[in-house]
Symmetry: C2
Subunit: 455 residues, 2 copies
């Protein structure tokens, strides 16, 4: 009787209910829309990981840690190296985040793909994983990390935690735990071991350590699941206990965010994808400038001045007027507008050192003025050009591309993917990888994707 009471209490706890749900959830239960969004999340993550794979941050992490790698079973995407799955998860997680171009769960600003997909794809080269199981684990991992994020956002983030790394470790643990067929008890232990390994302070933003967070969360979550699978015990109440994760790492907690509607609503349907390689707040301005350049055929040379009307957050977060590096360019709405008008895009190439120091870009940038309009929504902006011939052209964006109201289309995602991957995989290799990513849910062995993403 006592043990019934005890297990009943565990079952009604956030940790217990979440673990039981993940342990029981079958691939067949996923709605088609959810499977589709999982493929989009997967494809976007693979593109970002391949695109970021030659960044100095990745070179350094590989040089430091590859000498400690175990059996070379798992691919480093976009490169030729192979590592053990734990290290591959770390390195691919770094690559996928280094451009700040990966997917975003807007409600919590979690980047769900980094921790979950980095772990899953590396694991799929360690043990054969079929497509339906992979997609199910991906959806469940995203579900777990975003629900835990929902339960503590925004207070947890405001304190200073990088929520992608702190909530992400649970997502990776749940995803790998699912592939390992953990029962509810061991799934709860996996979450417990994950709870003891949060990754990431916001103080690290601006340094290489930011990209370390999703990668390390992937590695920690996989470690937690492997230990739990072998019977390594942990708390069964890691999330909700008095000295559990929610109370220790946040000033506010809403456990119902974790437990309500499990299997009914899916957080992955709220995932979004960035068209531009920078903070989400300047996306509306870039969107407007790209449209002016592309649709209206405005030549940069004919522009006398540029007037921006923006949400207050834009100047608070991206108000740098004289950026000196590509990274600083991501925090300058003036650079972003200038380069988007000149090159018609806001990809990683538009935030390189080359782009930021280009004299023509600097010249136009100095003729960009910005005014705050508190009435604007965060995903809205207006750009007014005064041309050399005296004409005035305006473009208003109500909902920037990439926002939930105007999500990137599959074709947009493919173009982004191609822009990221083609330089390393070639045109044919990129097309083949794209094809495999869209078909991930139908593959007999998901390792084929990792193979195709290696050079």
């Amino acid at each position: 009787m006592q043990s019934d009471v005890a297990s009943g209490r565990a079952l009604h706890s956030a940790t217990g209910m979440l673990a039981a749900y993940v342990a029981a959830a079958a691939p067949e239960a996923l709605p088609e829309t959810v499977r589709k969004e999982a493929a989009r999340t997967f494809l976007n993550w693979v593109g970002c990981a391949v695109g970021g794979s030659r960044h100095k941050t990745v070179d350094i992490a590989l040089a430091a840690l590859a000498p400690f790698s175990g059996p070379a079973q798992a691919s480093v995407l976009g490169r030729s190296e192979r590592l053990d799955p734990l290290h591959a998860a770390l390195i691919n997680g770094i690559s996928s985040h280094v451009f700040d171009f990966d997917d975003t769960h807007l409600r919590t600003v979690i980047h769900p793909g980094g921790p979950v997909v980095s772990a899953l794809l590396a694991f799929a080269e360690h043990r054969k994983v079929r497509g339906p199981d992979f997609v199910n684990a991906l959806v469940l991992g995203v579900e777990v990390e975003c629900r835990i994020g929902n339960a503590v956002f925004p207070e947890h983030y405001d304190i200073g935690w990088h929520i992608t790394g702190t909530a992400g470790v649970f997502g990776a643990a749940a995803a790998i735990g699912k592939l390992l067929n953990l029962d509810a008890e061991r799934m709860a232990w996996a979450l417990g071991i994950a709870a003891s390994q949060p990754v990431g302070l916001r103080e690290m933003f601006g340094s290489m350590t930011k990209s370390f967070h999703p990668g390390r969360a992937a590695q920690n979550g996989m470690t937690a699941a492997l230990l739990a699978a072998h019977g390594y015990t942990s708390s069964a109440r890691a999330l909700e206990a008095k000295r559990g994760w929610m109370n220790v790492l946040s000033t506010q907690q809403d456990p119902t965010q974790i437990t309500e509607g499990l299997g009914v609503r899916y957080e992955i349907l709220a995932n979004s994808y960035k068209p531009f390689a920078c903070g989400i707040v300047i996306h509306p301005v870039i969107d407007a400038c790209v449209q002016l350049r592309k649709s209206d055929g405005i030549e940069a040379a004919s522009i006398r001045s540029v007037a921006l009307r923006v949400h207050p957050l834009v100047l608070e977060l991206t108000g740098k007027t004289e950026p000196q590096t590509g990274l600083e360019g991501k925090f300058s709405v003036f650079h972003a507008a200038s380069i988007a008008l000149i090159e018609g895009d806001g990809g990683e190439r538009q935030f390189s050192d080359r782009a930021v120091l280009d004299p023509a870009v600097i010249d136009l940038r100095r003729r960009v003025q910005a005014t705050i309009d508190p009435a604007l929504a965060p995903d809205a902006a207006a750009v007014t050009l005064t041309l050399a011939d005296g004409r005035v052209v305006e473009k208003q964006v109500e909902h920037a591309i990439g926002s939930r109201t105007r999500p990137m289309t599959d074709a947009d995602l493919e173009a982004k993917f191609t822009g990221l991957a083609e330089a390393y995989l070639g045109a044919a290799g990129t097309r083949r990888l794209l094809y495999l990513c869209w078909r991930v849910g139908a593959l007999d062995d998901v390792a084929a994707v990792a193979e195709a993403a290696r050079t």
Copy 2:
């Protein structure tokens, strides 16, 4: 000028001052007393790691993670396996803590050896390390973790963080960073990467995850130092920044605890060693019972009843009257008194399932009564025996053995070490290992210790 101001500020920050101190500190600067205490800390840690090495917790962690190990360069103490240094640091850290028998920095309840020595000894099998450099790195690692602990204790611990794993990661990063000859800038980055990887919630106490904490802290700290050595950047103000470690992980901060008296006072001189394999609060009772058994020659069979007078914390933390397992026995002052009177010790063997279920131990345990005396110091207790012949014998302990006032002697540490190691290494092997541990500061290659601790 601006950059002078900036670097001046960094230098006067807690992170900057600590990093600069560790980067500059030379082995020759260590006082002899500090070197001696380092050898005692080292020896005690090695004994605990060998003694704990066959625990189920270690078996499971090895089974789960050994398949992912890199080049087998580093020993798993007390066993025959070798792993890469990162994994060896994890596993040895688990072994060293699994009996709760490792060293304690009483002011912060940090177990300093676990994170620091686990990392150092594994690393010494990866790259040759001379004795003086090893001891210097050990002292500095302990200094860093305990000072950071001092700055946030007790609030950080009260919230629910297992301070050994959260502060310990800094100690491991500093220790390995020292062996890697990091300059002050990279040492600060190592601390920054460490800050983003705290390990351990107190909610996990009572499960295998508790022992995971010091091991993972060792592994995370080593990872941080390796990355920083290769130029992986991080915040230079990881500890004191608004969204840095001290503010995010504690409600109270005193950074002067980190910066004052560096190189003048040494935290390792405040390290203590447990004579008994259980929580520190029941040590005074065990001490008294052991003395009654040994010095006064009291036979257990002649005892009619036992009356304990104890500090209030004793019954709060260790008030279990009917323990069923060895682990539960550690939380029963009644069992501890009974077995100490019968066997004259409080080692790991006295907290086995066998000991707890022994009918004679149970019989005497049920005749143990405890009374709270708020006037007693935490390291004091009184035990009164009523014997079968009517005689009454009392033993008062003012300061339990192992407390700072009455530290374990070198001979006590050797006896503890032998009790932990002999079953696995044999008498001759144990003596040889003891000899090497005492001489650690004079060894040409510290890897010799790890070799001698392998079976």
